[in-house]
Symmetry: C2
Subunit: 114 residues, 2 copies
């Protein structure tokens, strides 16, 4: 979508530190990491938020989670553990309106999750 | 899986406060809620954690997220926003070894997410 920061990152129009890439999903390191490993997984397709995902997006959403799992393995945190987070809307703390999954690991994550 | 708490909950062998149910996904209110709305979405199929999800589970993982979205709408927190969380392994804070997604909302969720 024109003007969307994450669409531009997925397209390579804005630089990012790549962590994962396939035809449908792009992953990159968060520029404000909250843990030793903090990667964002995004669909290349523009979906504003989880509220805007349709039934037809189900397989794509699953691929986002599987991509996060692969990144966790690649970056050596799969065995130690990690947390996956999706923020939707204001109460969720969503700041970029292109659906994304945070992968955080490399330290113990506290509870509650925010 | 025999002996798995969440398999027993999904099967109705251990009581829970139902929030969602379809053929593949079951949702119930967390007994130790961390927000005004705190629901757990689980696949009826036993998958120990995100690390144990296979490529073939992709569609099912997507359905978990879509189910969470539906519960958020049903419980009136879709517009205000919410956070979805999956904990994997020790650093992630996973306590029940049956993959689950937390849906939290009804209050502003802080950052970082744990």
């Amino acid at each position: 979508m024109s003007g969307c920061l994450f669409c531009k990152i997925a397209a390579g129009e804005i630089p990012s530190e790549e962590a994962y890439a396939d035809e449908e999903v792009y992953g990159f390191h968060d520029i404000s990491p909250q843990a030793p490993v903090h990667v964002l997984l995004i669909p290349r397709k523009h979906i504003a938020s989880m509220n805007d995902a349709s039934e037809a997006d189900g397989a794509l959403l699953g691929k986002l989670l599987l991509a996060a799992r692969k990144v966790a393995a690649k970056l050596g945190i799969a065995e130690g553990g990690y947390r996956l987070v999706n923020n939707c809307g204001e109460d969720g703390g969503q700041t970029v309106h292109h659906l994304h999954v945070h992968l955080l690991g490399g330290r113990g994550l506290a509870w509650p999750p925010g």
